[in-house]
Amino acid sequence: MTRWPGPPTVRVLLLASLFAAVAAGASCRPKTGGTAIQNKGSDTMVNVAQAWAEAYRLVAPDVNVEVSGGGSGTGIAALTAGTVHIANASRDVKPEEAEQVRRNTGLSPVDHKVGYDALAVYVHPNNPLEAITFETLSGIYREDGPLVRWQQLGFSVPGCRSDEIVRVSRQSSSGTYDFFRERVLNKRDFKLGSRDLNGSKEVVELVGTTPCAIGYSGMGYATAHVKMLKVARRAGEPAYPPTVEATWARAYPIARSLHMYTLGEPAGPVKAYLDWVLSPDGQRILQESGYVPVPPSGEARR
């Protein structure tokens, strides 16, 4: 009377579960050769990290570099938890973060400077501005900064009907946000109400479609639909554009180094990868992605 395994429905369910179990078991087979390098962190660097991973596949076919973003803090957090090999960061690791890494893993994070990034200030092409000073930027973005309308700067932007200065920024745990706050705002907090976008590209896209907008993002994200401003530290000083030369000459005031952190000194495939990143091939890819490579003579700025 008992038909085991049973009528069609149960058979189907059993087969499905069996199949899933087999597939899962097959998936757990140890990988035949090939290593994976986990690379996580800065959203600013995520594009060049992906370009490197893509190109490195041709150099070392059995090494698979896996790239994800999330922001500089994610990478360092993952380093603390020991779940990545290389953490990308567009800012320095903070002392308390380094301490936490040491406490959790017993190793210290080792810094590898792989290039520089000039943080560009973007405006819509309609905007008549060509250069801007730290003071103006701070007045716009700072928590108690007085500048909220373009009229206050002495002009209006064609196409911007409300005359509101639409501030575009990054989310609060982004390395870009942190760097801008430290360098331009002098560690003061941002004014609430800025559009805090999640991706470096989103910032540029939004500025490009919004005449009232101003935003900051890595220079590598520039498109033909936005204008990059020259930046001067103080009124009266010359303003420099975000270019490779200006960064090497330490003239462009908002430039930062790009870091790849490892747990302790790297070895094996990780070291080979880092060496390749710093080689002329890797640096060429960095420059093609729109960043500033390490100058041939060594470090330009810390």
């Binding site: 499905a16 097959a26 992906q50 893509e54 994800s68 976008l197 590209k201």
Partner: protein, 311 residues
């Protein structure tokens, strides 16, 4: 204009409007027509954006859509090329999560519908199912991160992401299976019991086979949910980029991270600069198209199985 007042009622010689020849009647007829027009307009206003959006997506995506687009891997910093790793990744996540959620969900529904007495405890379980269904996807992501990535030590992996998706789809599978089970008439069960079958024998032999269409449809409809969610997998196992060979069928292991269509679309829109404009649209169309294809086949399956029903 001469349709019967209630759809399904037989037509009348006066068109269902016995007073249509008085001025009072004419005003009523006009009111009728106005009411119908208002509700029709409201429905169309809801339908029109959908049609507009889908056609806009398809039109913009057209230059990039091709079989090559599906099979090729992303190239040139993901500004051109195809979406194969993401497509395969989504299939992995959907299959594994449903393989985990379906058995648990079906058995849970069997319990709730066939075994549970109407006690407070079982009302609490029903409430729990409803609440699980309403949990925001980001809270699922938080849970997946805390439970599967960290506590269970799966790390960022296909396993963690699939399990998170499984918990997300579980409550709807339970609810739809319950509906399918309760559609089986009580008389079937009573007939079995009267010939001496136990509860499980009844369920296995009569109830489940007769509710197969509803159960399968419910499971297949969750494919769209599992394939479309981004937040739960973003924090538990999906990556921006992972090198995969063009057209490989099984590129990921359970403890690997993977690319996924939903994550890929998000990344292309917010992170990758200078993408060829048709590519994000094409990714959206592939995602939407696959989901609609699966849903369509679920509905087709339901109709086919319903026609085979003998009651």
């Amino acid at each position: 204009m001469h349709e019967p007042l209630r759809p399904g009622a037989p037509a009348r010689h006066d068109g269902g409007r016995p007073f249509a020849h008085t001025s009072f009647g004419r005003r009523k007829v006009r009111q009728e027509a106005a009411a119908r027009a208002v509700f029709l307009a409201m429905t169309l206003l809801m339908v029109a954006p959908l049609v507009a959006i889908v056609s806009h997506l398809v039109i913009e995506a057209w230059p990039a859509l091709s079989l090559e687009f599906l099979l090729d891997i992303p190239r040139e910093r993901m500004t051109t090329g195809g979406i194969w790793p993401a497509f395969v990744g989504t299939i992995y996540l959907v299959v594994i999560s449903l393989a985990v959620a379906a058995p648990i969900g079906v058995l849970a529904a069997v319990y709730l519908n066939e075994y549970a007495k109407d006690s407070w405890f079982n009302r609490v379980i029903s409430l729990a199912v409803i609440n699980l269904a309403g949990v925001p996807s980001i809270v699922h992501a938080l849970f997946g991160l805390g439970a599967f990535v960290y506590a269970a030590r799966f790390g960022f992996s296909v396993a963690a992401a699939s399990l998170t998706l499984a918990i997300m789809t579980l409550p709807v599978i339970i609810a739809s299976t319950r509906e399918a089970l309760s559609a089986v008439p009580m008389s079937f069960r009573e007939a079995c019991w009267n010939v001496g079958a136990t509860r499980w024998q009844t369920i296995r032999g009569v109830v489940l086979p007769n509710s197969t269409s509803g159960i399968l449809t419910g499971i297949i409809l969750q494919v769209s949910r599992a394939a479309g969610e981004t937040a739960p997998i973003m924090f538990t196992g999906a990556v921006l980029y992972k090198a995969v060979e063009r057209g490989t069928l099984l590129p990921y292991y359970l403890d690997d991270q993977c690319m996924a269509l939903s994550m890929h679309l998000y990344v292309l829109t917010t992170q990758v600069p200078n993408v060829a404009p048709a590519i994000p649209y094409a990714t959206a169309v592939v995602l939407l198209g696959s989901v609609l294809l699966v849903n369509g086949s679920a509905i087709g399956l339901r109709i086919w199985l319903r026609n085979r029903k003998r009651w």
